[in-house]
Assembly symmetry: C2
């Protein structure tokens, strides 16, 4: 094997695709670029990996710095490394996939006064994006839909207490299809994935029971599906 010094080194960055559900729509967090290249275009939050930190740490750090978000579900998505993907030079980017419960987002993040301009965009109406970030989001979306169907990762998008209708709406929003209420509830219960609380949520109609997520059962599949190679 060759020596480390023999090679010009690429820069290594992380980019994070953060999803949340707001007003029944699936949203991605974007940041407006303040400089060239792609000045004033939107891009994913992210930044360079420091020489003494793990990529995962870099992702968490950048998210906190840029958006204030720190309590979220994070997993590695894919490493994008085509030589021409960044006009500034060789940048290899380790992309991460993240989910946050929108009720935990601080006002600063949804809002107006940070140095960086940030915003949540509906996945079906994304603006033009810098670099290959469109491709990264597309990949992340695929992963999200896929994971939702056979893991219990969806709970990461809900507050601690939620109604079964909340949960079903979340599935319907992300998968883009209507689900049968009775079958959905039957399955959620049968899997032991949720647990009743004694609390209710009120509205101008019959109050709904609140449930919590049982971590114990989180590895069960919600729906078994074929996998696209």
């Amino acid at each position: 094997m060759d020596k480390l010094e023999d090679y010009k080194r690429p820069s290594v960055a992380v980019d994070i695709v953060v999803f949340t559900i707001m007003h029944g729509r699936l949203k991605v967090l974007l940041i407006k670029r303040g400089r060239e290249p792609f000045k004033d275009l939107w891009c994913l939050p992210g930044g360079f990996v420091r020489i003494d930190e793990s990529p995962e740490n870099a992702a968490l750090r950048e998210l906190k710095e840029e958006t204030g978000i720190k309590d979220l579900y994070l997993e590695q998505l894919y490493t994008f490394g085509k030589p021409e993907r960044d006009p500034r030079g060789r940048v290899i980017s380790i992309a991460y996939f993240a989910l946050v419960d929108s009720t935990k987002i601080k006002p600063a993040v949804t809002g107006e006064e940070g140095i960086k301009k940030i915003g949540w965009f509906d996945v079906d109406f994304l603006p033009d994006l810098a670099f290959d970030h469109k491709e990264i989001i597309t990949y992340a979306l695929k992963r999200l839909r896929y994971k939702l169907e056979y893991t219990a990762v969806g709970f990461e998008l809900l507050p601690d207490k939620f109604t079964l209708t909340d949960l079903q709406k979340l599935y319907e929003t992300i998968l883009g299809e209507k689900l049968d209420k009775r079958n959905f509830r039957k399955k959620a219960m049968a899997m032991g994935i949720v647990e009743k609380t004694r609390e209710q949520r009120k509205g101008s109609h019959r109050p709904a029971l609140l449930y919590t997520f049982r971590k114990k059962a989180s590895s069960s599949a919600f729906k078994q599906v074929k996998f696209e190679k």
Copy 2:
């Protein structure tokens, strides 16, 4: 976002976990290190990503240089990036997952005379490994078993023509469990994943029909399983 020059850059490498089936056993390709650190320990084939090539290209190039293998199934596995994973300094490694049909391996690769010493090791009897390569292999194995159950990736480990018993043995070897012959064949046929040829393989018993893989149907699941989060 900060400037590229502001950061010390890590080295970026690729490591490839190449699986094959030999004599009914699942094997991984390893290379003996010729220098420190970890001199004389076995490690995964791999090397540094050049400044103008994609990581996938680097993986293919290194495999060809080190082992002569060039016709294989390759997909990105995971990026390992803990700061302390390489004692020489900061090296982030993009791991790849590869499958080869053992009948396509050139003698030089299975053999003795290359500059590098290389060998195929039974996954159940791995030697001590350099760096975090044990962990990488464990991760790759998990991926292999997982993919085998819900994609048709197993064909990458067989020659173009094979018997259904070959295919079943492959599944049994990798999954580590006996499968029912009738159910297995029924499913393989029902999925339209294989196609009869007019050829047979002979032995001192009833000859077996040879089949080929139908690429068309490759996305179907072989067996639907629960997913471990």
